[in-house]
């Protein structure tokens, strides 16, 4: 595992392509990029850039979870969804939702689920 700190959006493509072209396509798939940091928006832009940098058959995996916020938010949504279903027999997608602390990164993920597009 090799950490790269202070990476900018522009540096994503060369970093990703150096990683994927240095091994055979079969082994390249065993390479993964983890995007950390504190900026959820930037992390998503970086993911987009990673996807755009991949060339078949050289493909590597990428996983974004800045400050653990995406998995935290996914877990929060999942817990609430389950509770609503079990105790109130309601679908999360059909409820009105208020989020406090929108600048905390976690809030991005609940807002980002495609299922939520049908909402409000």
């Amino acid at each position: 595992m090799t950490p790269y700190t202070g990476v900018t959006l522009e540096e994503i493509t060369p970093l990703v392509q150096d990683a994927m072209f240095s091994r055979s396509p079969r082994d390249a798939v065993r390479t993964g990029v983890f995007i950390a940091g504190k900026d959820a928006g930037l992390a998503l832009d970086m993911m987009e850039r990673v996807r755009a940098s991949l060339l078949k058959p050289f493909e590597i995996s990428a996983f974004a979870d800045p400050a653990g916020s995406f998995t935290t938010a996914a877990a929060m949504v999942a817990c609430v969804e389950k509770l609503l279903k079990q105790k109130k027999n309601r679908e999360l997608a059909k409820t009105k939702i208020l989020i406090f602390g929108a600048l905390a990164l976690s809030a991005m993920r609940p807002a980002s689920s495609p299922r939520w597009k049908a909402l409000t």
Binding site: V29, A43, I97, L98, A111
Partner: protein
């Protein structure tokens, strides 16, 4: 969806615009700077997510109590004071002021770290490149019931599945044909639902399952052998409806052409329902009784006698049987893994089931190929629930063998497996 800012609406408006642009979601920003404004923002709201800075109380008991429509409030702040007044760290449905159900930071944290670790694991073991950022729907749908959950089991003998459920910390509710002492000792509740000779009594089975489901609110239904020849018996049970229970076997009979299509690429896959069509080469064929299981239903085709009708003929494929365990969703399926089986021949039962082992030691490529075929069959038949699909062969040649509509003995190999599915719904 509404975003509330503790210092007014202006700052969160920028974030709302970004979310709207990025994901096309309708989001609006409101001012949540004072107690009154928070109460106003809560009007009509049913769910609250708190993701504010650590150690900041966002909602007081008074504002919770004033929010008449509020059902659930969740908070990820683990540093005291809690972001929501009265919320315990591990709360998962505990009532707060005004009867609102609370979800605490460590209840969320428990799911969070499992999600994160699971995704890392998936990335490390995947055979294709993954892109994990939650912006696309996750295909990871396999989730275990909570520890101690009740599981309904229906099988001709429920003992093995009940033992498997106990080993995994669940409480088995068993309907079977034996009601033996071993099963009684394992089961939380059990009922007799037929006779070993004649099989399940449909009405008795549904009544038994319904009665147990009403008492225990089970997390799901697992069914084993005993239904192979009863393709429709899993249909009608009001109490079981909530599981979207295993169905779809009827389709195997109704749409054989469509279901067979994914298997045509396996050249040796031949099934005949009449002996005359395969008579010329009878020595290379097997005869199987429809709906049989366990290997005692298989014999060399030469042993077939005219007049014996509920059978089909299948060409012999050399090699060992491989069994894929599937979790089917009707239109698609997860292939959970593969195991290898061997026969324990008896003089009158040359193909009797002997045992099974995991891993199956297939090449990754072959694993994916077989998984694709099994998924296509499950999808075309609209199967639901845990299924097994068998292939026979060796080296690079495998042939579809049998689509077993129930959970077999091999399922036990997957207890506690942390390996991601060979292939998830695409």
């Amino acid at each position: 969806m509404i975003l509330a800012g503790y210092d007014g609406a202006k700052r969160v408006q920028g974030k709302a615009d970004d979310i709207k642009k990025r994901f096309g979601v309708d989001v609006r920003a409101v001012d949540g700077s004072t107690e009154e404004k928070k109460i106003e923002a809560l009007q009509g709201v049913e769910v609250v997510f708190c993701a504010a800075a650590a150690g900041v109380q966002v909602l007081s008991s008074a504002s919770l109590a004033s929010a008449k429509s509020l059902l659930v409030a969740a908070d990820v702040n683990a540093v005291p004071p809690a972001g929501i007044e009265g919320l315990e760290l591990f709360a998962n449905g505990a009532e707060l002021a005004g009867g609102v159900l609370g979800v605490g930071p460590l209840a969320i944290g428990d799911v969070k770290y499992k999600t994160e670790a699971g995704l890392f694991q998936r990335m490390a073991t995947s055979t294709k490149a993954l892109s994990l950022d939650f912006a696309t729907p996750s295909s990871w749908r396999v989730r275990s019931p909570e520890a101690g959950a009740a599981i309904l089991i229906a099988a001709s003998s429920g003992r093995a599945l009940a033992a498997a459920a106990r080993r995994s910390g669940y409480r088995p509710l068993v309907a079977d044909l034996f009601d033996d002492e071993d099963t009684r000792a394992l089961a939380a509740t059990n009922r007799l639902a037929g006779h070993p000779q004649s099989g399940f009594d449909g009405e008795a089975l549904i009544a038994a399952l319904d009665a147990m489901a009403e008492l225990e609110a089970p997390a799901g239904l697992v069914y084993g052998a005993g239904f192979e020849d009863r393709i429709d018996s899993s249909k009608a049970s009001p109490a079981l409806d909530c599981f979207r229970q295993p169905t779809g076997h009827g389709a195997v009979r109704e749409k054989p052409g469509r279901i067979g299509a994914p298997l045509r690429r396996f050249p040796a896959f031949r099934i005949q329902t009449s002996a005359s069509r395969c008579r010329k080469a009878l020595k290379n064929w097997l005869v199987k009784s429809i709906g049989g299981a366990g290997g005692s239903h298989v014999a060399p085709a030469a042993a077939w006698q005219a007049g014996c009708e509920s059978v089909y003929f299948q060409r012999i494929a050399p090699g060992d049987p491989i069994s894929l365990l599937l979790l089917a969703y009707g239109t698609n399926a997860d292939v959970l893994g593969a195991s290898r089986q061997w026969p324990a021949p008896a003089p009158d039962e040359p193909f009797r089931f002997g045992g099974s082992l995991r891993p199956a030691r297939l090449s990754p490529k072959m694993e994916v190929l077989l998984a694709k075929a099994a998924k296509a069959v499950a999808g075309a038949a609209g199967l639901r629930g845990l299924k097994q699909h068998r292939f026979s062969g060796r080296w690079r040649r495998f042939h579809p063998d049998r689509n077993q509509p129930s959970t077999g003995r091999d399922a036990r190999h997957f207890r506690g497996s942390r390996r991601p599915p060979i292939s998830s719904p695409s």
